[in-house]
């Protein structure tokens, strides 16, 4: 254990080796390949635990990666408390997800590919949280994105999955490009790319450049964490296998943006503009995504928008400087959201459908799934004494202190959160079964992880003080007033939904009109992006190709060629095939040229 604490880079190297091994030995091992792959998250977990107990310094590793002239760009890892916590979270969730996947993906022809990618993802995620500098971070950042792309498009024969994969990668890549630019500006200003340097950078950079760099890095965080205005890729990402959604698109990768800003909190707090933007983006996204979630008919879409909304909560906390609160919420959210996704996966596995309208009454047919789901739902809604209650309370209280308007926005979002999760619970697990398949409880390989995560969702709230101490801050007591209001709002939202959907789906929602249609369609944001960004770019590219490249640039070149040929046609009159005529021309030209040279050289 102490060895792991001293060599945290092993948390990257071991999963990488595992991923390779899975690829190489996949066929030989058959179904057992999953157990090999589980070594990857286990190594993350072990490293994380070792780091939690061990010393948090002296384990830095930094190697020169790009060296030329005076420029030396190093990449390195550094295992501190935050990294340790993230490693544990990623390790546990990944381990549970892999175990769940053994059952979920059992009959899939791409079984080996799936587990290789998950192992690779573990490596990249470990690199992301352990990164000691921006270049290592960017490398890991884009690699998790690539894993996400490959896993969303895992069922590549489905056109919708292929499209969703591209969309996810491109939208997050917009953020990555901003991040790249931010790193470049910071590097030029200080000649440094280390995170430590960036944390102490504001003094060196000055306010203006600090704001610019922080905003550019924020763009990357917004893309990865699916915040407005780059939030619209996450719902589509649900095309991937559900365990992937649980791991990457709920618990770990999408939280990377939160992690990044938490890492760089001094930078953001040095710029009022940057932290203000973080707060505004977070609060707005929290509310907006919650409103969309209430109208979704697809159980995974509900959870997707819920994830966006909860990440907005975390961003809002980051915006007011309460980064420990944000990380606390990140940890509890990872637990209960992964639980909800896996629960949804279990349900989808049983019913063969993702539509809430095809479910109903599953509590009787899938009791263990139902119980664990409800634990996750209560945690998400913020009902005490479950985990979500504690972490959300810290977040909302901190935001209220920093900005009452944002705090109220979050409270409103809490109400909606309770409403949509109660709606989903009621429609899926209660009432009468409306589907055609014959749902049954999943095997223990799938329910086991659910149980583990449910334990986390129930009890992690108690870990709050320990987490905050780990992150080097004094735990704050529960603010009773905020807690009471939040719980009351949550209960109100939940009860209203329970009553509203008592009789199964509301028929009007099947053919939505007006506001409900807008909510269900995510305010038409997707279509607007397609219409105002994607299509113009494609049309511009097509037009530029036809009119610009072919007609103008190439046309000019070919035109010169044709002109030359036509001139050549005139000249061809000179070319009568008489060799002596040619020789005479050559001679005359030589005489003229030499004469010119003689004249010039007088």
């Amino acid at each position: 254990m102490t060895a792991l604490a001293a060599q945290p880079w092993l948390a990257v190297a071991v999963p990488l080796a595992v991923a390779l091994l899975v690829v190489v030995a996949g066929r030989a091992l058959g179904a057992g390949v999953a157990w090999l792959a589980m070594v990857a998250p286990a190594s993350l977990l072990a490293t994380g635990i070792a780091l939690l107990g061990g010393p948090h310094s002296g384990n830095a590793l930094s190697i020169p990666w790009l060296v030329q002239g005076d420029t030396s760009i190093r990449v390195g890892v550094l295992g501190d408390g935050l990294a340790a916590l993230m490693l544990v979270v990623v390790g546990v969730v990944a381990l549970m997800v892999m175990m769940f996947s053994i059952g979920y993906m059992a009959d899939d022809p791409g079984y080996t590919r799936y587990f290789a990618l998950l192992a690779l993802f573990s490596a990249a995620m470990a690199g992301l949280v352990l990164a000691a500098d921006l270049v290592a971070l960017l490398v890991a950042w884009e690699l998790v994105g690539a894993c996400s792309y490959l896993l969303i498009g895992f069922w590549y024969r489905k056109p919708s999955a292929a499209a969703a994969a591209i969309k996810a990668f491109l939208v997050t890549h917009v953020g990555d490009a901003g991040m790249l630019l931010g790193i470049a500006l910071f590097f030029v200003a200080t000649g440094d790319v280390s995170l430590a340097g960036l944390r102490s950078a504001p003094a060196a950079l000055g306010t203006g450049l600090t704001t610019v760099v922080a905003l550019l890095l924020l763009l990357g965080a917004i893309g990865k964490s699916a915040q407005f205005p780059l939030h619209f890729w996450l719902p589509d990402a649900m095309e991937g296998p559900t365990p992937v959604s649980a791991l990457i698109h709920a618990a770990t990768m999408v939280a990377a943006g939160v992690f990044l800003i938490a890492r760089l909190e001094p930078l953001f707090q040095a710029s009022a503009t940057a932290s203000g933007v973080v707060l505004a983006v977070g609060a707005f996204t929290a509310l907006m995504a919650a409103t969309i979630a209430i109208a979704q008919s697809d159980i995974k879409k509900v959870l997707a928008y819920s994830t966006i909304s909860q990440l907005g909560f975390m961003f809002a906390a980051l915006g007011v400087g309460a980064w420990q609160a944000a990380i606390f919420h990140l940890v509890t959210h990872a637990s209960f959201k992964a639980l909800l996704f896996l629960g949804a996966g279990s349900v989808i596995h049983g019913t063969g459908s993702q539509e809430l309208s095809d479910m109903g009454g599953l509590a009787k047919k899938m009791p263990l799934t139902a119980v664990t789901w409800i634990a996750g739902a209560l945690a998400l809604a913020g009902i005490p004494p479950l985990a979500g209650f504690f972490s959300k309370d810290v977040v909302v209280a901190a935001v209220l202190r920093g900005s009452p308007l944002a705090g109220l926005t979050l409270l409103l979002a809490s109400l909606l959160t309770a409403f949509y999760i109660a709606r989903a619970t009621r429609l899926a697990f209660f009432g009468t079964y409306r589907g055609v398949a014959h749902p049954h409880e999943s095997r223990w390989m799938m329910t086991g992880p659910l149980t583990v995560l449910a334990v986390g969702a129930v009890f992690l709230g108690a870990a709050g003080p320990a987490i905050e101490r780990l992150l080097l801050t004094e735990p704050e007591p529960i603010e009773l007033g905020v807690a009471v209001v939040a719980v009351l709002l949550a209960v109100a939202g939940g009860v209203f939904a329970w009553w509203r959907y008592a009789g199964g789906p509301v028929p009007a929602e099947a053919a939505p009109v007006g506001l409900w249609a807008a909510l269900k369609g995510g305010y038409g944001y997707d279509g607007a992006i397609r219409r105002w960004v994607v299509r113009p770019v494609m049309a511009f590219a097509g037009g530029a190709y036809e009119l610009g490249d072919r007609a103008t640039v190439d046309g000019a070149a070919e035109g010169i060629g044709r002109l030359a040929r036509r001139l050549g046609g005139l000249l061809a009159l000179l070319q009568n095939g008489d060799a002596q005529w040619y020789a005479a021309l050559i001679g005359a030209a030589t005489v003229l040229l030499v004469a010119a040279a003689l004249w010039a050289g007088r």
Binding site: G568, Q575, N576, G577, D578, A579, Q580, A583, A584, G587
Partner: protein
């Protein structure tokens, strides 16, 4: 005798050869005129070698030219023979196949 006189002589010989090359109408004569141009060139070369007191170099170069000329004559005449055999024409104005 170096310098201007030999330059004038070789230039005049070269001009004559060029004129013949351009105007003679049968291939063998054209070749003969080309030989005259080559001879003029190597004459100048030898004169330069004399002037530079580098006899070995100049002589060697001129020798190279002589051999080149011999090779050229052999191939050229061979071509003429082949052309005549193939087309029955040995007159330049009848041979316009190199026309673009």
């Amino acid at each position: 005798m170096t310098g201007m006189p030999v330059t004038l002589l070789s230039a005049a010989l070269f001009g004559l050869g060029l004129y013949g090359t351009l105007t003679r109408r049968d291939l063998v004569a054209v070749l003969a005129c080309v030989e005259i141009m080559l001879g003029a060139a190597s004459l100048q070369l030898v004169a330069f070698a004399r002037a530079a007191n580098a006899l070995g170099n100049g002589e060697a170069l001129a020798l190279v030219l002589v051999v080149l000329a011999a090779a050229e004559a052999a191939v050229g005449l061979g071509l003429v023979l082949a052309t005549v055999k193939r087309t029955g024409k040995s007159r330049v104005e009848e041979l316009t196949e190199v026309s673009g």
